[in-house]
C-alpha cells in the first residue's frame, strides 16, 4: 500500500510542440531578475543618462540659448558609448551565474533530459541576458530618437539622419551578441558565478591594458585589435559614420568580433552537455 494517500494521476491535457523550451527558460530568467530589487536599482541607474539626454533635447528644441545642445548623429553614438559602463555591470550581474549556477547545481542534466536541445538551452539563456542588455542600449536609444522628434515637433532630424535607426539597431545588436556570447561562454567554464564575474572583468580590462602598454611603447593605435572594447568602438564608429579612432582597419576589428563570437560558440558547444565526460 502506498505510504502517501495523495494519488498519482495520469495527465490528459495538451503539450506544447517541441522547440519552445527556450521561451520557458527566457521567461523564467527574466522574471527572476525583475524580482531582485538591487537589479531594478541598477536598471533605473542605467536609464539616468537617457533622462539627461532627454532634457538636453528638450532644451535644444525649446530654448534658443541652448541651440548648441542640438543633437547630431554623434550624440547617439556618444550615448551608446556612455551606456557601455551599464552594459558591463548588467552583463556581470545577470550573466555570470546563468550557466555557472546551473553547473553548480547539476541542473544541466535536468534541462537536457527534457525535450530541449543544447542550442535551445543556450538560446534561452542568451535571451535573458540579451533582453536586459537591449533594455539599457537599444531601447533607450530608440526612445531617445522618438523623444527628439516629439520635442522638435517635426521629422527633419530623422530625415537628415535616416541611417540612425538601422545604425543604432545594428551596433547594439552586434555589441549585445558579442558581450552576451562571451559572458555565457565564460559562465560555462566555472561553477562559481563570482569567479566568472572576475574572469569577465579580466577579459575586458586585461585586453585593454595590453593594448595600452603596446600603445605606450609604439605610440601607434595599430594594435587596438587586441582590445575587446576598442574593436567595438571601431565598428561603432564605422556604423555611425564617424571618423575612425584607431589605425587598425575596421575589417580587422570586425574579424576579431566575429572570432570572439565564434570562439564563445565553440566553448559553449563543448561545455553545455548533459554529462561531463573525462576521458
Amino acid at each position: 500500500m502506498p505510504i502517501h494517500d495523495q494519488g498519482y494521476r495520469r495527465y490528459g491535457g495538451s503539450k506544447a510542440p517541441l522547440g519552445q523550451g527556450w521561451t520557458v527558460i527566457a521567461r523564467a530568467g527574466i522574471r527572476s531578475m525583475f524580482a531582485k530589487r538591487a537589479f531594478l536599482g541598477l536598471l533605473l541607474l542605467a536609464w539616468f543618462p537617457f533622462f539627461v539626454r532627454a532634457v538636453q533635447f528638450y532644451a535644444a528644441a525649446n530654448l534658443p540659448q541652448a541651440a548648441m545642445l542640438a543633437p547630431s548623429a554623434d550624440t547617439f553614438r556618444q550615448f551608446l558609448d556612455q551606456q557601455a559602463t551599464f552594459v558591463f555591470f548588467v552583463t556581470v550581474y545577470v550573466g555570470a551565474g546563468l550557466i555557472a549556477n546551473d553547473r553548480r547545481a547539476n541542473a544541466l542534466q535536468i534541462y537536457l533530459s527534457k525535450p530541449l536541445t543544447r542550442v535551445e538551452y543556450v538560446f534561452g539563456k542568451l535571451a535573458i541576458l540579451a533582453t536586459f542588455l537591449l533594455l539599457v542600449t537599444w531601447v533607450p536609444a530608440i526612445v531617445l530618437l522618438v523623444v527628439q522628434m516629439s520635442f522638435a515637433g517635426n521629422f527633419t532630424f530623422l530625415r537628415n539622419n535616416l541611417f540612425l535607426f538601422p545604425a543604432i539597431t545594428v551596433f547594439t545588436f552586434v555589441e549585445v551578441l558579442l558581450v552576451a556570447m562571451t559572458m555565457l561562454a565564460l559562465s560555462s567554464l566555472s561553477n562559481s558565478s563570482r569567479y566568472v564575474g572576475i574572469l569577465y572583468a579580466g577579459v575586458i580590462f586585461f585586453s585593454s591594458a595590453i593594448y595600452g602598454v603596446l600603445y605606450a611603447v609604439t605610440r601607434s593605435t595599430q594594435f587596438s585589435w587586441i582590445s575587446f572594447p576598442a574593436n567595438l568602438e571601431q565598428i561603432g564608429n564605422v556604423i555611425f559614420r564617424q571618423p575612425l579612432r584607431y589605425e587598425t582597419p575596421w575589417p580587422v576589428s570586425l574579424f576579431m568580433i566575429v572570432l570572439g563570437i565564434a570562439l564563445s560558440g565553440v566553448i559553449l558547444e563543448r561545455r553545455v552537455r548533459g554529462v561531463e565526460v573525462v576521458a
Partner: protein, 311 residues
Amino acid sequence: MAETDSVATLESVTVTYGRSEALRDVTTTFAAGAVGLLGPNGAGKSTMIKALLGFIVPTRGRMHVLGLDVADAPLAIRARIGYMPETDAHIPGMNAVSFVAYCGELAGLPRVDAMQRAHEVLFYVGLGEARYRNVETYSTGMKQRIKLAQALVHDPDLLFLDEPTNGMDPKGRDEMLELVRDLAHNKGVNLILSSHLLPDVEYTCDHVVVMDKGTIAAAGPIDALKQPRGRVYELRVKTPSGDLEPFLEYLRTAGLDCHATDEDVMRVFVPGEGGARRLFELASSERVQVRHLRPSVPTLEDVFAHAVGED
C-alpha cells in the same frame, strides 16, 4: 503504458570514453513494467542510461526507446520519458513547487497545468508540506524525492531512475521504494531502475538486466532467473575426520557446486536430475553423515553473484 512489449532496446551498442570501453557491444531489451538495471559500481549502468537519454553518443550500435530511434528522435523520446539523475540536481534559486512546475513547462505542459501537476506530484512524493521551501535547504532524502517529482510532473511513459535510494535513511528508503513500486505496479508507469542494491531491485522490479564490466551478464524476469537449472540444497554434514574441506573437494570433483554459507552449513547446487538422492549417495560413499538437508530457494543475490562471476 508503452505500446510495445519492450520499452527500450540496445543493439550492439559500444560506448567509449577515450580508450576505455564503458559499454562493450551490448545487446539487450528492457521489457515493459519495472526493470532493474543491476551491477557493481563501474559496470556501465549510468552510462547505459545516459546513452539511452541521448547524453552520450555511442561509438557503435543502435538504440530505441518507446519504439523511437535515439539517434533520430531524441527530443520526441525525452518528451515521453522522465529522468531522475543519480547526483543532486536542481534549478538554483527556486522553491520546490516552482522548480517542479518549471520542469513541467520545459517538458511542454501549459503553465497552469504545470503548476497544478507540481502540487499534485509533490504531495505524491511526500513533499507537500515542504513545497514552498527553497530546494537548496532540503535534506538528502528530500532532494531524492524532488528529483523523482520533477521526473514525474509531465506524466512520462517511461521513467529512468538512477540509484533513487542513494543517501536515504532506512525509513526514507522504504518510502521511496514503496513509491517506485506503486508507480510501476499500480499507476502503469514503465520504469528502469538502476541500482547496485539487490533488495531495491528485487522489491520493486519484475525483470532485471545484470551488468558487469560494460557487458550484459544476465537478463530476464527475476522469477525465471531465480529458477535453478538443477536443485540447490542447504546441507550440514559430519565427516569422519571432522574436516569439511576434503568432502567439499570431493563434491566439486563430482560436478557439484558448493558454497559454505555459515559455520557448518553449505549450499550445494546439484545439476541435472538426481537431486537429494545423488547427494546422499556421494555422502555415503565417503562415510559422511548427513545431519541436515533442505531444498534452498535461490535469491536475486545468487543470480547476481553467478552472473558477475562471484561464485
